[in-house]
Subunit: 647 residues, 2 copies
């Protein structure tokens, strides 16, 4: 929001009726989140800011009779990468659900591409219809039990704090480091606080006695509580409770009873991780509101939680309410209780009408026609960023030149310039390609066994936790062979960041594939390549294919790639329009059906957590099978003799 004297003057001229507003929205019932009341008045907007609430004349007028008007919604904590969409395409999806601001943690792309990943997300989210505020990833890498691509120390994060959209340090999830006062972790927290920034918590399962450690470190939010007891404990400590309703984690119903008129001011709504289909089908935090209202929360309180409370939580004093001096981020509703979205205004511009994204005149030539829906994106300051991004997918030759230039430029500048500065050479999507594996042959995928009894990762449907099972497996010529009858498939994790050639091999049960293989470069937290298959040949095809498209998701069968969603931005995000991503996701789901994959859970979602060693019980990293309980890597073969470490 502009605070020049000129901007102030125009605002005051409209407020005092000396000049007409740019736009007047007339006759709607405004939800006042300060008083909890509904008021029928005009909203006068100038330069994208609300100048007055009352009776006003405008150059343009919109009739909102029989409608309700609420502030633009705010998602207090979301990982955009979970949608697999670029920041631009993510914005197009959530704006249709009335979300005009998100606070996001680029943890995944930061894990893969380090500071370049964060810079990319900042650059690509300039001038979108959804303001994307960033909390800097606090725990990259999360663990040393896998080959991670990036390492973000306090000194790496520090320059980003000067960026106006960087609000602080994201979810401090390494409780061990925090509670033991590990210097690296404290350095990051201290740096954020000493700059007056915010620090988010991540206190999953942390008991009351230890929760105080978070609070003592000035960490004032948690989005991981799953019941009223946990929520109450956090509220007692003055922590904001972020009530989460995402694709996997659905905590709202369990937490809701904790809310009282007294403490609601400290509760807000978040999605954390939500896949594109859920975002499209049920929405973002608008879904949290609907769900809360269905469970008895007053609509105005729920709306307050998704607007004013989020703004207050992060000190965003220019948004979260409909009042003079606030940004004109507005959602016009057909129905308050159902939260039926009629129109969405961002900075006073109508961006969604009749529930559909508006295609406005292209003012920015770089918002190219290959991305038709990005037309409403305003002219960006970082012109080159937009240009190079728009060109990349269209003209590989230009892209290559740009990338080479960008790389060399970046190398020269990276030590001397502020990576958070918009003056730095912008990072192109192609420059974030991170699917660099060493050459792989069938030999690399062979899993030699000296006997038949093996440790097996057993999927617990819809849980991040796996079971540690042991089975008698098929063995041929001294090597493990997958069995569709037993549902024992081969699992491979291939290091993809530095082409080290590291490959971890293991056995997984639960996918129920009858043929073929599946592959993904989304594999928390280091996002190496992970694949599961019924044969080594199909496994290899899946891996080779996804490397050839610079990362993504794919389903193969025989010698055919049945479906593929390239995620060429760091192997995490697609460069495609969201509709296309959605379409490809549907095709992937059909392909999964074709190869007989289990239908009672999302196989790709499950696959993406099988390499996460910080979660129980048995996982596979590129360094091998990892036993959470033992906190160590173990062999695939069950050890017959405890004294013998190798077979």
């Amino acid at each position: 929001m502009s605070w020049t004297t000129e901007a102030l003057q125009r605002r005051i001229d409209v407020a005092s009726h000396r000049e007409p507003a740019d736009l007047v929205i007339r006759g709607g019932q405004i939800v006042n989140v300060f008083t909890g009341e509904l008021v029928q008045q005009d909203i006068a907007i100038v330069d994208g800011v609300i100048a007055g609430i009352g009776t006003y004349e405008g150059i343009e007028t919109v009739d909102a009779a029989d409608k309700w008007i609420i502030p633009g919604l705010m998602d207090g904590h979301v990982h955009i990468e979970s949608s697999m969409l670029s920041p631009q395409e993510f914005a197009k999806v959530v704006i249709q659900h009335g979300v005009t601001s998100v606070i996001t943690d680029p943890h995944e792309i930061g894990s893969v591409a380090g500071v370049d990943g964060i810079r990319y997300m900042l650059e690509q989210s300039e001038d979108l219809p959804v303001d994307q505020f960033i909390m800097l990833p606090s725990c990259v890498p999360a663990t040393s039990f896998e080959s991670s691509a990036a390492c973000l120390e306090a000194k790496d994060l520090e320059p980003f704090y000067d960026h106006p959209r960087v609000l602080g340090l994201a979810e401090v999830m390494d409780f061990g480091a925090l509670s033991s006062a590990a210097p690296g972790m404290l350095g990051k927290i201290a740096a954020a606080h000493s700059r007056g920034k915010y620090v988010d918590g991540h206190a999953a399962g942390i008991a009351k006695e230890q929760l105080g450690i978070y609070a003592a470190a000035g960490i004032r939010t948690d989005h991981e509580c799953i019941n009223t007891d946990e929520a109450r404990q956090r509220l007692e400590l003055g922590m904001y409770v972020m009530i989460r309703e995402g694709t996997a984690a659905k905590d709202l119903e369990a937490i809701l009873p904790v809310i009282t008129p007294y403490n609601s001011r400290r509760c807000l709504f978040v999605t954390d991780d939500k896949l594109i289909d859920d975002l499209l089908d049920e929405g973002s935090v608008d879904h949290n509101i609907r769900l809360a209202v269905r469970h008895g929360l007053p609509a105005v309180t729920a709306i307050q939680m998704a607007t004013l409370n989020t703004a207050e939580c992060f000190g965003l004093r220019d948004r979260g309410a409909i009042a003079p001096g606030y940004i004109a981020d507005l959602v016009i509703l057909d129905d308050l209780e159902q939260l039926t979205i009629h129109e969405v205004y961002k900075n006073g511009q109508c961006v969604v009408q009749g529930g559909k994204l508006l295609e406005q005149p292209v003012t920015n030539p770089t918002a190219s026609s290959t991305l038709p829906d990005s037309a409403y994106i305003e002219q960006s300051d970082a012109t080159f960023t937009a240009e190079s991004t728009a060109l990349d997918p269209v003209n590989p030759a230009v892209s290559l030149i740009h990338d080479a230039l960008a790389e060399s430029h970046h190398e020269i500048l990276s030590d001397s310039i502020d990576p958070a500065s918009s003056q730095a050479f912008p990072i192109s999507a192609a420059a974030l390609s991170r699917c660099q594996t060493a050459p792989i042959t069938l030999d690399h995928l062979a899993l030699p066994l000296t006997h038949d009894y093996c440790n097996v990762i057993e999927i617990i449907p819809n849980s991040l936790v796996t079971a540690h099972a042991q089975y008698k497996v098929n063995r041929k010529n001294g090597y493990f062979t997958a069995s569709t009858d037993q549902d024992l498939l081969k699992l491979a994790v291939v290091e993809r960041h530095q082409a080290t050639g590291n490959i971890g091999l293991g056995i997984v049960k639960g996918f129920q594939l009858q043929k073929g293989a599946i592959v993904s470069t989304v594999a928390h937290d280091s996002h190496n390549l992970i694949a599961a298959g019924t044969s080594d040949e199909e496994l290899l095809l899946a891996i080779e294919h996804i490397v050839s498209v610079n990362g993504g998701l794919a389903v193969v069968s025989g010698s055919e790639v049945l479906a593929s969603l390239p995620l060429s931005i760091a192997g995490l995000l697609s460069e495609l329009p969201y509709e296309e991503v959605y379409h490809q996701m549907k095709k992937l789901n059909q392909a999964l059906l074709q190869i007989g994959a289990a239908q009672h859970f999302n196989p790709f979602l499950m696959l993406s957590f099988l390499a996460l060693p910080v979660i129980p019980t048995l996982k596979l990293t590129d360094l091998g099978l990892f036993d959470f309980a033992a906190n160590a890597h173990i062999d695939v073969e069950v050890q017959r003799n405890r004294k013998s470490a190798s077979l």
Copy 2:
């Protein structure tokens, strides 16, 4: 609050029970302002910060059984100058009332001494037991109808924003300048906002229709509302309502009914202007709490309003609650409803015990024995400041040298250095002496009249507004003579900042003096010297005396100074300990009785507003009699012929 990794480590070590706390306060009922509940738990404190709430061991333990513990109170808006105490002595008074933080506007000293006055208040409030945050005066001078000492433009204020205790721009009271979008005013507001600072309002009597102009300019507080309608209008706009209970303005009872559980988060308590005797006798915002509770507000809500809400209003995230990670500013109560103060802790140090200020070992040699109660003041970073100030009243010679040095230094540096920086040469109290009148004789006080009919300022008791009366007055040899029978006294306003020799003369009715004269250098807003007397001789004596002591209040009779309170710091603040100031105030009141002054109002308080031309109806400035309605100066004599401007 320190956010170094070392400080964090000590805090976490205590939070996780690895190290004992410095201090544990055990067994008290803690008021949790987040949940509104009482909890009986230990408070563990290390380095002045709360590290844990639960069960803790400490090097030192305080038993708080049968007590209640609330966060240190916060006054959201106060002019310290109204107490006539130095920042140090003011702190000593309000800390006894549980106030550990104030947000103050040095408007008066800024009006007299400009940036030097603001610097002085910042320097003198370092390391006190009450954190004094400063909002920069927005309207100096308030008007051009009197000779003001200082002029504070946006460029003068700007350097102060770098000071960690400067929070923003104080009460924007010039609604005319705001609503007409006057560039000077907008420049100040824009500068504050663009630095992420706060802007206070002052919307006295502003109607709903115009109030939006404040909000549109991002002004989010008001301490001037006097009834529920006004309060409700401000809450609707998202403005914080500062509920004021001061010496003159008492708004609490009238506003209180507006408070609901839904909107209480946006209400807080302030005193604005409170004289020393009221501060000592009834208290600061602790009095607001008691009064609110007496009128039915739940005690915990009232406490929340004086702590958490104030902290949130100004983005002070390190205080306002009792929780880990918050500054250990605590008040231990004998009784919750009565708010009977037992002990006060500032930064974990006990500063008030048994309702009395503690005299702790002097750690700072410059906190001299002439100021016995300042012993608890911690060693200041700005050592020289404390030194020079402490020496001034003791050794005039040293003082003079210091001042000369300070003046010359200041001249040299003033253009090149940041006036807000602690590196700048500190300002001594004596350097702020501003009682510089041109030589005055009886001739200067003679008021020639060509006839007997005069315009008279008639006091309306306990109102800032005066009546414009006309009386037939005593005239001798062509000059006005005061009449005790008619209660028509001579009023003089003497310019005291630049020794211009300007003297405004008029006639005042209402003081009821039977003899003698009264004088004050507290005269809003420009604080010229103002005196009222029954004879020119006594008037002259009063003026000469108060000039000789560098400003203050005095009562004279015949050739005797009956009582005098020197206010040598800018003619506004005393250098004396608060007990002495209180004692002198009592003596002044006795002297007022002696000369027969009216007892149904405070004559000095009334006197201080007779020179304020922005308030109706008839006032006197050093430039002459001022008619608010005509917005112009007028003659004392009633004009017989409207066409003739001079008699």
